[in-house]
């Protein structure tokens, strides 16, 4: 098998595994939510035995007491292992692509997408080793499925040599960190989105009613905020580094460190938005919901920088769209 086929097949396999993992993670969320409800109503029985308003019907309750617990653990196990194997295949696909092209696999939109989604999954897996963040799994693997699917179907490009502008070790430094940051911000974006949903539900916002039962299975909004802050802090430092490294490279390649090229403008906007997020966290009236919205705005700008700016705005970074 040649490296081109190996890469595409491995990435295709990873896409399928991520899709399975996403379903398993979603099932796990539903099961954990069930268990919490069951635990609550079980606790309510001795006190409220005679009370009229016991939410769960007895028919549900009898099997719920023991089996969903096992079922959620089983779903979590499947989710974990498919994600892990998916990430391995993903890594193989990425490496094969790099070997095939003869350079690091992040020089056009296709390659940037396959590596960015890889780092998102890796960031998630590393996080998962340190704390229980299985509730992020559905979001992360879902995003990775979409990203890989789009990459393989719409963005796919045959391997090609690097244009002279990219023949620099700064491609390795600057773009690899940018790609890693994208992965980290993607995970924290999911945490912030969950934080907002959970917070809305806790305030009794109507739309989150019946359908958002899974929110029972995610931690409290304040824990989600703490988690996304840690990720955003790491992301922000690395993004600062990315912008600086980009400026040094631009100085090498084009003779100016900063030229307000569309890509540079958006990198700056992203940086400023995350700086605003960090300030908002400590500003009265902005901490919590509004700062989470700023983090989401930052990630949206990051995605814009990679899509709209690459495709529609002209600048020196035009090779990025090829």
């Amino acid at each position: 098998m040649n490296p081109t086929d190996l890469s595409v097949m491995a990435l295709g396999g990873a896409t399928v595994l991520y899709a399975i993992a996403m379903v398993a993670y979603a099932i796990r969320l539903a099961r954990v939510a069930d268990e919490k409800v069951a635990a609550k109503s079980a606790a309510a029985v001795p006190v409220g035995a005679g009370a009229p308003a016991t939410p769960a019907s007895p028919a549900d309750e009898a099997p719920a007491a023991s089996s969903p617990l096992k079922r959620s653990a089983k779903a979590a196990g499947i989710a974990r292992s498919t994600t892990l194997v998916g990430a391995l295949l993903h890594g193989v696909g990425l490496a094969a692509r790099g070997i095939d092209a003869g350079h690091v696999p992040w020089s056009n939109m296709y390659e940037y997408t396959i590596s960015g989604s890889f780092f998102a999954v890796v960031a998630f897996l590393i996080l998962q080793r340190r704390r229980d963040v299985a509730y992020l799994g559905a979001g992360v693997t879902g995003m990775a499925t979409i990203a890989l699917g789009l990459a393989l179907t719409v963005l796919y490009k045959d391997v090609d040599t690097l244009p002279p502008a990219l023949q620099s070790y700064w491609l390795v430094i600057h773009v690899s960190i940018a790609t890693i940051v994208t992965g980290i911000f993607a995970v924290s974006f999911i945490a912030s989105a969950l934080q907002l949903m959970r917070d809305s539900r806790d305030r009794g916002v109507r739309w989150t009613g019946a359908r958002a039962r899974f929110l029972d299975a995610v931690p409290a909004a304040s824990s989600l905020e703490a988690l996304s802050f840690r990720l955003n802090a790491v992301g922000f430092v690395l993004w600062t580094f990315t912008v600086m490294a980009g400026a040094i490279w631009a100085e090498h390649a084009w003779g100016r460190y900063w030229g307000w090229d569309p890509k540079e403008v958006w990198s700056f906007v992203i940086w400023v938005l995350y700086a605003a997020y960090l300030h908002a966290r400590t500003t009265q009236g902005w901490a919590g919901r509004r700062s989470a919205w700023l983090a989401i705005a930052g990630f949206t700008a990051l995605i814009m920088n990679f899509t709209v700016v690459n495709l529609f705005l002209q600048g020196l970074h035009t090779y990025a769209g090829s």
């Binding site: 040599t161 002279p164 084009w254 307000w260």
Partner: protein, 536 residues
């Protein structure tokens, strides 16, 4: 007519502040976190049009075209700074206000921090009930020994990082016999934060300094020719307000050859200029300049920014005299280096001046419907040109674009049917012009390199400021800010230890530290947790 007192019109009960009071109020607002936040958001928002609309400094040609296409909105946007966002008054106002706010914010904080560093650790609060606690736990040692053991755990770690991140401690013996340990860490976090914000100011100062002293110029050099570094030698030259032309180092740069490699499909693979570089009074040295590989000379760098073909053309006039001979710079128009150029021949011995508009096809191919170049390499170079006679308009004293022919006083050379004549020349060929006007020869096809020279004395400072920024930021985000208290007292003949800790919500590791301190006080082995593995 009654005069409206603005300052207490809306809120009659508001105290009159007076000018100083107002100024103080405004300053407090400007330096508040909320205003900093809003200014940051404004800065992000204000940048966006700069990426969507064409901008004068980035692409003057596109901006001019935009103005032509939008006769109504174009001038409005131009007048309001939207076509030069990053030089506009409003963008400048936002960032200057932001930096004013920044300085106003960090100066008092720096003073406060300095005092804070010299102040002893605050005593343990009387009541620890407000904080996340541990214990009470009965231990076998005396209160003094228990606190001493806890303190040993919190001592600064080895190395300078440890020293910076370690705890400052204080032990109090209270009236009721209790022994209280207060330990805190986190000054380095605040220090990092201050360094970060101050370095942002340094970055701005370095950029401003660079803008004043920088210079840059562009010059096109044809293979085999030389260039001497002087303002007049550049095709375009720009410099900062405080630049001094005598700072230019008068070196010469000879372009020996320009290598341009392309793949079979015509994708660029590598561009490299092989040059001979001579500093005044020194021996010539052979150097290479490539994309991503500029040549450094003093504080200037020379970049290879572009390349193309400069066909050597000879034009003979009606009398058979050489009226023009030399390389003409053609500009590539597409990836296959189909290039256009203009030849102006003012000095003819007889008749009118001559002008040519020419297109070069490096790998010429004639198809049934069109002609074109199929590859950027000169496999089959052909030049097609239209000839003009008349007045080139060079004497008007107006500087002329060398890539454009002013056709206002020229007429195309025509054949018997009155159609413009297209001349076609392969490399080495000579063709005669109609009506005995003379002849044109396509002699050679050298390449040229477009060089960009740039000096910016601020770069080392800028780099230093950037590194400080990054270091300060990382310290301020990753160093922890924690307080840990352990109180031991004698109760009913035994020693009872209580502990508590305080840290920002995202800092999950503080519980581990408290647990370690409590375990030490109790003489237990602390159970290593996942958190601890993470933080050790």
């Amino acid at each position: 007519m009654a005069r409206v007192k603005l300052d207490n019109y809306v809120v009659p009960a508001a105290p009159r502040l007076g000018v100083r009071g107002w100024l103080r109020w405004i300053w407090r607002q400007v330096t508040s976190m909320r205003v900093a936040l809003i200014l940051l958001l404004l800065l992000a928002l204000a940048s966006i049009p700069g990426s969507v609309l064409p901008q004068w400094p980035q692409d003057a040609a596109a901006t001019r075209a935009f103005l032509d296409e939008n006769p109504f909105w174009g001038p409005i946007l131009d007048a309001t700074g939207f076509l030069d966002v990053f030089g506009s008054a409003w963008f400048t106002a936002i960032y200057l206000l932001l930096f004013a706010s920044l300085i106003g914010c960090i100066t008092p904080r720096a003073i406060h921090h300095y005092r804070e560093l010299r102040r002893p650790v605050a005593a343990t609060p009387r009541s620890l009930a407000r904080y996340d606690g541990a214990g009470p736990e009965t231990v076998s040692s005396t209160p003094d020994d228990a606190v001493e053991a806890a303190r040993a755990v919190l001592r600064p770690r080895a190395g300078w990082v440890g020293a910076l991140r370690g705890y400052r401690v204080r032990v109090d013996r209270r009236d009721d016999g209790a022994v209280a340990l207060a330990a805190e860490t986190g000054h380095v976090r605040e220090l990092g934060n201050l360094v970060f914000h101050a370095s942002l100011v340094l970055v701005l100062v370095a950029v401003a300094y660079g803008t004043l002293f920088t210079y840059r110029g562009q010059a096109i050099v044809v293979e085999g020719r030389s260039f001497t570094n002087a303002v007049a030698a550049y095709d375009t030259f720009s410099s900062g307000a405080l630049f001094d032309a005598s700072d230019l180092d008068p070196f010469t740069l000879r372009l020996d050859s320009l290598d341009a490699e392309f793949s079979d499909t015509g994708r660029p693979l590598h561009f490299q200029a092989n040059v001979t570089f001579t500093e005044p009074g020194e021996d010539p040295v052979a150097e290479e300049i490539a994309v991503n590989h500029p040549l450094e000379s003093g504080d200037a760098k020379i970049y290879l920014q572009g390349n193309g073909y400069a066909p050597v053309i000879t034009v003979r006039d009606a009398a058979g005299e050489v009226a023009f001979s030399g390389p003409v710079v053609f500009l590539a128009q597409d990836a296959a280096y189909t290039s256009t150029g203009v030849i102006k021949v003012p000095d003819v011995t007889t008749g009118e001046q001559l002008g040519f508009k020419a297109t070069l096809y490096p790998s010429f191919l004639e198809g049934p419907f069109a002609v074109g170049s199929v590859h950027p390499d000169p496999a089959n170079p052909v030049i097609e040109m239209l000839a003009y006679t008349g007045d080139l308009g060079l004497d008007a004293g107006v500087p002329q674009n060398v890539y454009r022919l002013d056709e206002s006083q020229l007429s195309p050379v025509q054949d018997e049917d009155g159609l413009p004549v297209t001349l076609r020349l392969a490399l080495g060929e000579t063709v005669d012009l109609p009506d005995g006007l003379g002849s044109v020869t396509f002699e050679e096809l050298p390449r040229y390199g477009a060089f960009d020279l740039r000096a910016d004395p601020s770069l080392p400072f800028l780099l230093a400021a950037a590194v400080l920024t990054l270091a300060g930021l990382a310290t301020s985000l990753f160093a922890s800010r924690r307080k840990v208290w352990v109180v031991a007292r004698t109760q009913d003949g035994t020693t009872v230890v209580t502990g508590a800790a305080y840290a920002p919500a995202h800092d999950a590791g503080v519980g581990v530290v408290l647990e370690r301190a409590m375990a030490a006080a109790a003489g237990r082995d602390p159970a290593p947790s996942a958190e601890e593995r993470e933080h050790s």
